[in-house]
């Protein structure tokens, strides 16, 4: 399969009073259609910067991004973003929050069809009974479910997840990883997820891209995760390969985040 997303020599420089600060330098990454890639690295290494450039929310200072054969220019609904905090409108219901975007991108469709799309994704993320509650009445975990449904409902070309479960407690995080995997399995959207949770990266992705520490962060190493899908956490936790991969990532973060590439493979 050919590359669907191409980040070439992506560079981000911020002007500071002390002169330009190079955050990301010559970052190269290719993602195939339907691939789920996790991007891990230490806080502040620039992983979210890469994601926000891909989302079009941050200017690109060098290099470029091609998505589905077109060079990106600015933000758009063809990339669904799930933020760390779901950024819902608190006075609207979960359903209305999702409809906001659906009404935009499916404006030529019948109202009935638009409603069906929102209902479908809200039900799939487990909000079948709560979709007409106002978002301020929902728990943190439920709000993030709305965020996931909203991103998928736009039927984007690509899904961008910026530490989507970072604000949740560790158990709710496990639940939502399952939910995300479940919805993702239905659509197989090309996805890039920024996280610093090693277990999350392995459980969800096909490939874990490790970023070196900034300034001038780049790809440090790549881990292929070849566990079959659909994945079952229980089976994964029994698999010695899981622990090998986990250790590899931890070792990278602890010791090699400032060194240069090699290639690795699990399972």
């Amino acid at each position: 399969m050919s590359d669907y997303v191409e980040l070439s020599n992506l560079t981000k420089i911020y002007a500071t009073p002390k002169g330009p600060a190079v955050i990301v330098k010559d970052f190269n990454l290719r993602i195939k259609q339907g691939e789920f890639v996790a991007l891990i690295g230490h806080s502040g290494c620039g992983k979210s910067t890469v994601l926000s450039m891909l989302a079009g929310l941050n200017d690109i200072n060098g290099g470029g991004i091609i998505l589905a054969g077109k060079e990106l220019d600015g933000a758009g609904p063809d990339r669904g973003v799930v933020f760390q905090s779901p950024s819902l409108l608190p006075w609207l219901t979960a359903f209305e929050n999702v409809m906001l975007g659906v009404d935009q991108v499916f404006f030529t469709a019948r109202k009935e069809e638009r409603r069906e799309i929102a209902e479908y994704y809200l039900t799939v993320v487990g909000l079948g009974d709560a979709m007409h509650k106002r978002s301020r009445e929902l728990s943190q975990g439920m709000r993030q479910r709305v965020g996931i449904a909203r991103a998928f409902a736009l039927k984007p070309k690509m899904l961008l997840l910026d530490e989507p479960f970072g604000m949740l407690d560790s158990l709710t995080r496990l639940e939502l990883q399952q939910v995300l995997l479940e919805v993702w399995g239905r659509t197989r959207l090309t996805a890039l997820m920024v996280t610093h949770d090693v277990d999350e990266a392995i459980f969800l992705s096909d490939r874990v891209v490790m970023m070196t520490n900034g300034p001038a962060a780049e790809v440090g190493d790549i881990l292929e995760v070849k566990f079959p899908r659909p994945r079952n956490r229980h089976a994964l936790l029994e698999d010695p390969d899981y622990y090998r991969g986990r250790e590899f990532l931890i070792e990278f973060l602890n010791e090699r985040a400032h060194h240069r590439p090699s290639l690795a493979c699990v399972a």
């Binding site: 063809d78 069809e113 079948g128 407690d169």
Partner: protein
Amino acid sequence: MAFLELKNVSKGYGFGAKRAEVLQDINLSIAEGEFVAIVGYSGSGKTTLMSLIAGLQQPDQGTMTLRGETVTEPSPERAIVFQNYSLLPWLSVYDNIALAVDEVFPSWPVDKRRQHTDQYIAMVNLTPARDKKPRELSGGMRQRVSVARALAMDPKILLLDEPLSALDALTRAVLQDEIGRIWSESRKTVVLITNDVDEGIILADRIIPLSAGPGATLGQSVKVDIERPRDRKALNHDPRFKDIRNEVIGYLLGTGGRPKASVTRKLVLPEIEPEDLNAPRSVFRSVGPRRKNEEKRETVEVS
């Protein structure tokens, strides 16, 4: 005889139709010097359980005893460390801790109290920050103050209510190791409440999962038979770590998990493509959306 014992304890809030049962049939027995971790979802009643043990609240049913005596009110013999540190912002590190020391040991001479306070500041490695105000400290440092304050009261039992949940992963790991070290030196009875299974494995002698509410109850306790000091990296290879982790997570995602609404619904997902919003609107006039085929009907098992 158990050191701390809860028998058939239940607790709920509200009346009539608004009544919500939080904890049901909690049975817990902790030996002197034991480090117990209670792991559960946020909102399942962990903090309510902690308030009961602290004596800040009374159970609706059941009894709670410490060394055979019924607990009816808060006391410095049960010290709590809260998630939000709860320090007085206008007092320095030293004064925050001295406040507790002066209150608990009023009969000590001034010198002894001062020495005692400084000893606990040193224990949590805060001597260089002794005269700083909480707002000048990072979250991790503030939590150290809170831990030192609790320990300086020389409590019989130390209650840690999600002490590290507000900290980033790196600081959390550092403080976990520190709490482990301090515990090894003092061998106090500790109840740690957390939502992090790994934290329980690093620190505790025993992990008890608390099921998701409403009406949360304690699951089977899991012994952590791993020698101390526990090394994070070595643990990753340890089959016992894996087994304990799987057992606790298995319970919390399975029988002890949130009730699953198992509804079967007919859902329709129209197979239409989104429009390019950058194209001029006139292109779309009287044209419907692009369709793959008609519609995809599917029955979704919602869990």
